[in-house]
Amino acid sequence: MATPVLDKEEAAGKPEPGFADSPYITVTFRIRRFNPEVSAEATWEDFQLEIDPKERVLDGLHKIKWDVDGTLTFRRSCAHGICGSDAMRINGRNRLACKTLIKDINPEKPITVEPIKGLTVLKDLVVDMEPFFQAYRDVMPFLVTKDTNEPTRERLQSAADRERFDDTTKCILCAACTSSCPVFWNDGQYFGPAAIVNAHRFIFDSRDEAGEQRLEILNDRDGVWRCRTTFNCTDACPRGIEVTKAIQEVKRALITRRY
């Protein structure tokens, strides 16, 4: 915030101005470390930080990486909950590190940070995302139409028809839902909630004509019927998608063949 301030002496050296009303606190980050180039075993490591509690868990991870231990490894990009890079298990729950403020997760106690579960850990908080994206690709996540003669202008869609699948268009493919699902943990073959959410997004789109095919894919023994409605996925979704409800709607569509 420098441009409008003609006298810039204020800005130098001090903590961010204006944070005087919320003093820095000391927080312990307890992070699950794993580097196969160093050791085959994963271990916990504690880091003490002075941090403003209004900052994000991602800010804490950056402080560690940038000022303490450059080997700490995690994915991140947008830092405000849109790109889906930094899903991790924070205090035992799947969240985006950039959407979780320190003050909201009881900084009195050590904050535990682990990789999301059910996907192979490659280094520290980085997991192998390929099986997750493969399940997504397997549900035909794209609009299929059978027109041989496309309309010149846009296809018409009523606001109500557009609303029907609005919730599942919000998905950012962060894997927080899929990697919170106990069925997915126990059986890596299960498509998982995120893939079903993305199938739902097209099955209930009035413009799409491949609903039957997608339903057959999800009728597989590794499909929607594996869901045990534990609602972990709904709790985990950083976009507020009613994931379990979407899965239930797909199950109902399979029974009634109406969607």
């Binding site: 915030m1 420098a2 441009t3 409008p4 301030v5 003609l6 810039k8 800005a11 961010e16 101005p17 204006g18 196969p36 180039e37 160093v38 990486k65 940038w66 000022d67 450059g70 080997t71 490894t73 995690f74 994915r75 991140r76 990009s77 947008c78 830092a79 405000h80 909950g81 849109i82 790109c83 889906g84 890079s85 403020l101 490659l122 280094k123 520290d124 980085v126 995302m129 994206f133 690709r137 996540p141 794209f142 609009l143 496309e150 202008r153 846009e154 296809r155 018409l156 869609q157 009523s158 606001a159 557009r162 699948f165 268009t169 919000k170 998905c171 950012i172 097209f202 789109d205 413009r207």
Partner: protein, 584 residues
């Protein structure tokens, strides 16, 4: 080291890269190299919409859109390119709808449209509803839709591959693109991609600022790779500061909030934009609004104990409208500020947002080696490129448009080129530059830290080359950047490993930011006028006689190895519109 051979290689998998990939894959053997998983790209953070004169809700036409784009860019826009942008906008939106994009709809079922800054009816008479949108998630929907269609078309991605060098080979006196060198994050392995055509679509450079809407990964890797190989960068002094970033954090709050009726207010509750832009008010172009905000702050009418921000007021809008049209940005205010936008105004400040400048191209996406000569086999599209459709200031909703129109054009042109062209021989030891760079960083015993240098760079950029600039502030930045570039030679990293070495990549990214910051500051120092996003307090007027021309910056290496930025200039293409005084 591995060597790969493809007809077309695309660098980057945001909107421009994937739009290009959809075309190129249909026509040629194509690989997309991306440092992020495609759906992580920053196109997904764009919110408000994509401009196209569909005229679904009121009278509109592409000529009005062209005029607004030229005027918005303060007459530094190449008018032939702006005309293509506005004309092809209509099909670009319709193509996305046919690919499945879930646009908001009118009661008739057509694509709904809303107002946006600088877009007007009949050459500035009043705001017009031109932005096609999907709530405040238009960029997210575009990114998802393009990725979905890449899956459908079977596009081949190399995810988490960082392109670190552009390969050039001289053939019969002509320098041609031969391919790229990439670093695989997962393994640390070097990959050489030999390609007939290379398209850069790697996005912006916003991370050289501190308060920015840009992702951590927007470090200008494409611009830097091309610049280091002696190719020019155009108009780098023009950077857009979006008026409404979340105070201190810089997170974007869409202009669509003002399109829906939101109002900017100072500490007295005054709707101050009425003073600065009597017709368009809060929907004046972004450079105008950002300067107005800082003028209010400088004159003591800023909000808060430090008087360092203003308010975006949405409290007069019905909660149902906020929920339906602006669900994400209202959630950002709740998450990051603990503020309820139904009842409380949101503290905002301008945030570094978009690079108008970049790798110069013509309207086919072909990269230029100078003012006129095309580099055979090299293309660029999107924020990394400068066509120039944005001139000195981009209009809101024209970037999602740009990536679709020029991403498509570059994809087609590159694939068609690769049909008729042969592979160019790779230079000897093509990987050598990248290997040396990596080994130097890995083995460095220097005492400088990446994070320290990056913070100092960001502080100096925010302080000296932001919304208001003077010769003195820009010189301060030039000197500081030179110091940082010197200290960068002593930078050391802690992670010496091969797997997922993001410590190493952050050091390389910082090197790119330092190179580009220097180009920006040197270009800004030489432009002794005020135009669009470049405002010089010591030269407050636009100077069409001396400066209605594009800056072209080249890297020069002296006999002693010293590096300098050499500036040249390129004429602006003018067709329909004579420069006029810019009023909103």
């Amino acid at each position: 080291m591995k060597i790969h051979k493809y007809d077309t290689v695309i660098v980057g998998a945001g909107g421009a890269g994937m739009r290009a990939a959809i075309e190129a894959t249909k026509r040629s053997r194509t690989a997309v190299l991306t440092k992020l998983y495609p759906t992580r790209s920053h196109t997904g953070a764009a919110q408000g919409g994509m401009a196209a004169a569909l005229a679904n809700v009121e009278e509109d036409n592409w000529e009005w859109h062209t005029f607004d784009t030229v005027k918005g860019g303060d007459y530094l826009v190449d008018q032939d390119a702006a005309e293509i942008l506005a004309k092809e906008a209509i099909d670009a939106v319709l193509d996305l709808e046919k690919m499945g994009l879930p646009f908001n709809r009118t009661p008739d079922g057509t694509i709904d449209q809303r107002r946006f800054g600088g877009h007007s009816r009949n050459h500035g008479e009043a705001p017009v509803r031109r932005s096609c949108y999907a709530a405040d998630r238009t960029g997210h929907m575009i990114l998802q839709t393009l990725y979905q269609n890449c899956v459908k078309e079977g596009v081949e991605f190399f995810n988490e591959f960082y392109v670190l060098d552009q390969l050039m080979t001289e053939v019969d006196g002509v320098r041609k693109s031969a391919g790229v060198v990439a670093y695989e994050l997962a393994t640390g392995e070097i990959h050489v991609f030999q390609a007939k055509a290379v398209i850069y679509a790697s996005g912006g450079t916003g991370k050289f600022f501190k308060v920015t809407s840009n992702a951590h990964t927007l470090t200008g890797d494409g611009q830097a790779a091309v610049y280091r190989r002696g190719l020019p960068l155009e108009d780098m002094e023009f950077f857009q500061f979006h008026p409404t970033g979340i105070w201190r954090m810089g997170i974007l709050l869409t202009e669509g909030a003002r399109g829906e009726g939101g109002i900017l207010r100072n500490k007295d509750g005054e709707r101050f934009m009425e003073k600065y832009a009597p017709v368009m008010k809060d929907l004046a172009s972004r450079d105008v609004v950002s300067r107005s905000i800082y003028t209010e702050i400088r004159e003591g009418r800023g909000c808060g104990p430090e008087g360092d921000h203003v308010y975006l007021d949405l409290t007069h809008l019905p909660p149902e409208q906020l929920d339906a049209k602006l669900p994400d940005i209202t959630e950002f205010a709740r998450t990051y500020l603990g503020i309820e936008p139904y009842t409380d105004p949101i503290p905002i400040q301008p945030t570094a947002h978009y690079a108008m400048g970049g790798i110069p191209t013509n309207v086919e996406g072909e990269v230029l080696a100078d003012n006129t000569t095309v580099v055979p086999g090299l293309y660029a599209a999107g924020e990394v490129a400068c066509v120039s459709v944005h001139g000195a200031n981009r209009l809101g909703t024209n970037s999602l448009l740009d990536i679709n129109v020029f991403g498509r054009r570059a994809g087609i042109a590159a694939a068609e080129y690769s049909h008729k062209a042969d592979f160019v021989e790779l230079p000897e030891n093509p990987e050598s530059f990248v290997v040396e760079q990596i080994e130097r960083l890995r083995n460095s015993t220097g005492n400088e830290r990446v994070a320290t240098l990056r913070r100092e760079l960001q502080e100096t950029m925010d302080a000296n080359v932001m919304v208001f600039r003077t010769e003195q502030t820009i010189k301060t930045a030039v000197e500081k950047i030179a110091e940082l570039r010197e200290r960068y030679k002593n930078v050391a990293i802690q992670d010496k490993g091969k797997r997922f070495n993001t410590d190493l990549l952050e050091a390389i990214e910082l090197g790119n930011l330092l190179d580009l910051a220097e180009v920006m500051a040197v270009s800004a120092l030489a432009r002794k006028e005020s135009r669009g996003g470049h405002y010089r307090e010591d030269y407050p007027n636009r100077d069409d006689v001396n400066f209605m021309r594009h800056t072209m910056a080249y890297r020069e290496v002296g006999a002693d190895g010293s590096e300098t930025v050499r500036l040249d200039y390129k004429p602006v293409v003018q067709t329909r519109y004579q420069p006029m005084e810019r009023k909103y």
